[in-house]
Symmetry: C5
Subunit: 86 residues, 5 copies
Amino acid sequence: MIVGKVAGTVVSTRKCENLIGYKLLLIEPYYGSKEKIFVAADTLGAGIGELVLITTNDTTQYGLDRNSPIDALVVGILDFEPEIGK
Amino acid sequence: MIVGKVAGTVVSTRKCENLIGYKLLLIEPYYGSKEKIFVAADTLGAGIGELVLITTNDTTQYGLDRNSPIDALVVGILDFEPEIGK
Amino acid sequence: MIVGKVAGTVVSTRKCENLIGYKLLLIEPYYGSKEKIFVAADTLGAGIGELVLITTNDTTQYGLDRNSPIDALVVGILDFEPEIGK
Amino acid sequence: MIVGKVAGTVVSTRKCENLIGYKLLLIEPYYGSKEKIFVAADTLGAGIGELVLITTNDTTQYGLDRNSPIDALVVGILDFEPEIGK
Amino acid sequence: MIVGKVAGTVVSTRKCENLIGYKLLLIEPYYGSKEKIFVAADTLGAGIGELVLITTNDTTQYGLDRNSPIDALVVGILDFEPEIGK
């Protein structure tokens, strides 16, 4: 999974029916290249600036109530910044 | 999901039967390296220059009417440019 | 999907049974880093130098007659070189 | 699969139900760019500093007791550092 | 699929039950960045220095006798070095 920081939201009125109801968050990767911002769906209520854990590809479906065309999903909100070696 | 800008279309007459009927868009990534243009199928009617949200790999199938060999699908058209921190 | 140019073929006599019968093409990416050549299976009869559209990962299975351990499949041959903005 | 070194843990109290019970490890890639740290679930009891083998994407599910939104899973602990050519 | 050179083996005694019985090979990519060594399972008996064809992610399952947490599998041994343009 990827550690990311919630950097904003995206708004889409014209979208697939199966996407309706999900909050769509801009995610800045916490490790590696920070420019590679992507979008993850969220059902946990993560706020801007929070660090989250994101799963990708088809494994997102096991965290959803119904199958949806979503390849990145927030599956956890981190309690504190991860520290290497602890 | 990936935020991309619709940069053109591709035309293919000799193709898999399961691809018939989908519009095939050239997509320029909005974040990260802009040279890594790829192709996404579209059923929402996105136009050139519009910003779209794209899901990838097998999750595309949950946005299609039938299974198709498509690993990138436009699942939303953004209402406005995303802004970091909002 | 990825736009690529057919750059050659690979020959493998000792291989998985499920791979028998597919032509295996060397593909040079058309966008991004051209050194990242990969192999795609082909059932459309693409020739060397042709531009093709390739789908990846598990979505390849929707373009095949039977399930096969193939993570890249030619799903279309482009009619002409894609042009940005058209 | 990826060879990685266990570099720490992440703690998440607010998370998907299906993630409960898994230890979440920070993994530093052993080959390639070491900055691209990611998170893998672990059921084998790997400790900090150990070298592990990680499978990704939907194949993680074949190493789990139940389907979970996990795209990286420790599937082995290496007996010793891998050596090229042996 | 990826063309790679068999560069060694990895040994793991503590591993997922579903991994037992597979040989685990270190693979050096033949194209692109050679430092990004990864591990593939092998059932064809590829030897060190041989060039092999590797499929990834969930498509590995179609080359296995049973589902296993394996995201890279040797599906062919190349008869000779691939040549661009042939």
